[in-house]
């Protein structure tokens, strides 16, 4: 699985409450996404484009279990790469179908607006704008399969374990 896109840089310790503020709870998805990074980067949701990549520092996504990956996917984010992820964010990423690549040192190699190519299967992150690259943690086949299948909901639906989206709940 290879993802290419334009980088947005966010630094260390970006937490779950910045990604998915409590004020967004219960809102329709298209309204909820308006709150992403409102506290630390107001207006970002108007600038981000489908296919863009988020670059984090250490402990990206730390904190709550909030399903921030689903909001980022709705905004069109193609992948997140960070020096390290909090494991809950990483899990939520894979389970919502958002490619996540843990790649120590990446944040120092990327300036905002650079174009990146991430190879999830090898763990290689390449900065297409500068030629710099870094090797991160390749995703094992099980997790690549979950991503390729669109995440947990899609998988459970295909297996006939949950109601299809169209049916009333």
């Amino acid at each position: 699985m290879i993802v290419e896109g334009r980088a947005w840089c966010f630094g260390d310790d970006i937490n779950s409450d910045l990604l998915y503020p409590q004020a967004a709870f219960g809102l329709p998805l298209d309204e909820a996404v308006r709150y992403v990074f409102r506290a630390n980067r107001p207006g970002w949701v108007d600038e981000v484009q489908p296919g863009d990549i988020i670059v984090g520092g250490c402990n990206f996504g730390m904190g709550s279990a909030r399903t921030a990956g689903a909001l980022l996917r709705r905004l069109g984010i193609a992948a997140c790469v960070a020096d390290s992820f909090a494991s809950l964010f990483f899990r939520n990423g894979v389970n919502t179908g958002l490619p996540v690549l843990s790649c120590p040192g990446i944040s120092a190699l990327v300036a905002e607006g650079d174009r990146l190519r991430l190879d999830l299967a090898t763990g290689i992150a390449l900065n297409l704008s500068t030629g710099a690259d870094a090797e991160g943690a390749a995703l094992p086949p099980e997790l690549l399969a979950t991503l390729a299948g669109g995440g947990v909901l899609a998988s459970l639906e295909r297996r006939g374990l949950i109601a299809p989206l169209s049916s009333p709940v």
């Binding site: 409450d17 219960g26 506290a39 402990n59 709550s64 279990a65 399903t67 389970n95 919502t96 109601a163």
Partner: protein
């Protein structure tokens, strides 16, 4: 996945000694052994669901057509109780319908409490077991030798319908505790001291051990286990000892009905952290995060407080009410400061009423709310406005955590929070005039 060369004789089972967390992951995944880096699919012994999963527009819920193990699941209403909005009330209605359809027990308004407290009170967190819930402070149950952790809401749906989910086996840190906490020093202070000394766990498991564990009350162990979410711990495990066994036996869970997880001799740990509890003094974390922000309460400077909060899964226990009541008896909350105290469950509330703690708090000008996660995550019952400063004994001090992103949230022990409410500014509780 296997890296063993093909065509050789059958591989010899890997008999590496396992840490206690690895033991639980091996058992629940049906593997003879696991090691850091492995991905294992584990069957949960207990699945705890919250009403938040059933909110309108939930990103995490779709009606299951099958439930793997209804008797292992429980739904707890805790994040907004009683319902602060039609959306929350509707979520509870959907949750009740789901539970009744599949024969799943649910904890309704009236018998409610914060899920980690309910799990403790009902003896549902058992030694050696795997417990999953869609709340990041699920590690609270690590105090009972339960491998408990928060997973995504979406994963709880997966756990409900398939019975399990995947984990990457992470390295484990051994945390050796010695000594005993001095009077007036709490589990929160011990946690903050540990975070100050060692920083982030970086997704590693933490196994507490050493003679200091026996000197810690279960209340303090639960605070510490809960707070380890703030240093990015994976699983957090305390040993099962007589304190845990007695607590469970009081709730009808007999010794011998569970198998505690114990590390094998010679198990490989990634690091050893050491803390002498007798050296711990009152600590606070400055706003933003815990890691890198811990200072002595005495060094906080002149920080005026608009709000002080005691509550949450970490510090909404009966012991916290007792501390608050003792400090407040004969004193008043400072003018210009409000004190809000939230019990972790209806049981805690009732016990605090019967003990007279609620009267002591209210007479001193404090507010006692119903049990809810409420103010801890800025939902209701004590939300902060722009420019306000709060010292809280709850779990988390992120920007925007308790309401406005323009508010400041400091963390401290219950004793530090209540003493500071009386002073109107952050103080070391040992400075409180007798």
């Amino acid at each position: 996945m296997s890296k063993r060369p093909l065509g050789h004789t059958p591989p010899v089972p890997d008999l590496r000694p396992l840490t206690a967390v690895e033991r639980i992951l091996a058992r629940t995944s049906g593997s003879p052994s696991v090691k850091p880096g492995d991905i294992v699919v584990c069957a949960a012994d207990r699945a705890v669901l919250l009403e938040t999963l059933f909110m309108p527009n939930s990103l995490n819920w779709r009606d299951p057509l099958v439930v793997a193990a209804p008797e292992q699941a429980i739904v707890v209403f805790d994040h907004g109780v009683p319902a602060p909005s039609p959306a929350e009330a509707g979520a509870m209605t959907r949750a009740r319908t789901f539970c009744e359809r599949f024969g799943i027990e649910y904890v309704d308004v009236g018998s409610h409490g914060i899920s980690h407290q309910i799990v403790a009170e009902r003896g549902l967190a058992r030694p050696g077991e795997l417990l999953l819930c869609s709340d990041s402070h699920t590690c609270a149950s690590g105090a009972f030798n339960t491998a408990a952790r928060g997973v995504g809401g979406l994963e709880m749906l997966q756990v409900v319908v398939t019975g399990g989910t995947w984990f990457v086996v992470q390295p484990t840190v051994l945390v050796e505790l010695t000594g005993a906490l001095a009077d007036g020093v709490e589990g929160k202070d011990a946690f903050l001291a540990l975070a100050s000394a060692y920083g982030s766990a970086d997704n590693r498991n933490l196994e507490f051990s050493g003679p200091g564990v026996a000197a810690l009350s279960l209340h303090d162990r639960r605070t510490i286990a809960t707070q380890c979410a703030e240093i990015n711990a994976e699983f957090v495990l305390f040993p099962c000892d007589a304190t845990v066994e007695d607590y469970l036996a009081d709730r009808g869970v007999e010794r011998g009905s569970y198998a505690p997880a114990v590390a094998d001799p010679g198990a490989a740990y990634d690091a050893v952290w050491r803390l002498d509890l007798s050296t711990v003094t009152p600590q606070v974390a400055t706003p933003g995060a815990v890691v890198g922000n811990v200072i002595a309460a005495a060094d906080a400077g002149d920080v005026h407080l608009d709000q002080c909060f005691v509550g949450s899964c970490a510090n909404g226990h009966l012991e916290d009410f007792a501390v608050a009541a003792e400090l407040l008896r004969g004193r008043q909350v400072a003018r210009g400061t409000r004190l809000i105290v939230t019990p972790a469950s209806q049981q805690v509330y009732l016990a605090a009423v019967r003990a007279g703690h609620v009267a002591d708090i209210v007479e001193a000008g404090g507010v006692v709310t119903p049990s809810t996660c409420g103010a801890c995550f800025g939902y209701h019952m004590g939300v902060l406005g722009d420019g306000e400063t709060c010292l809280t004994a709850s779990t988390r001090n992120f920007k925007g955590r308790m309401g406005s992103p323009e508010a400041q949230v400091w963390l401290g022990s219950t004793r530090t929070v209540v003493a500071s409410a009386i002073a109107g500014r952050i103080v070391d509780p040992r400075e409180l005039a007798p």
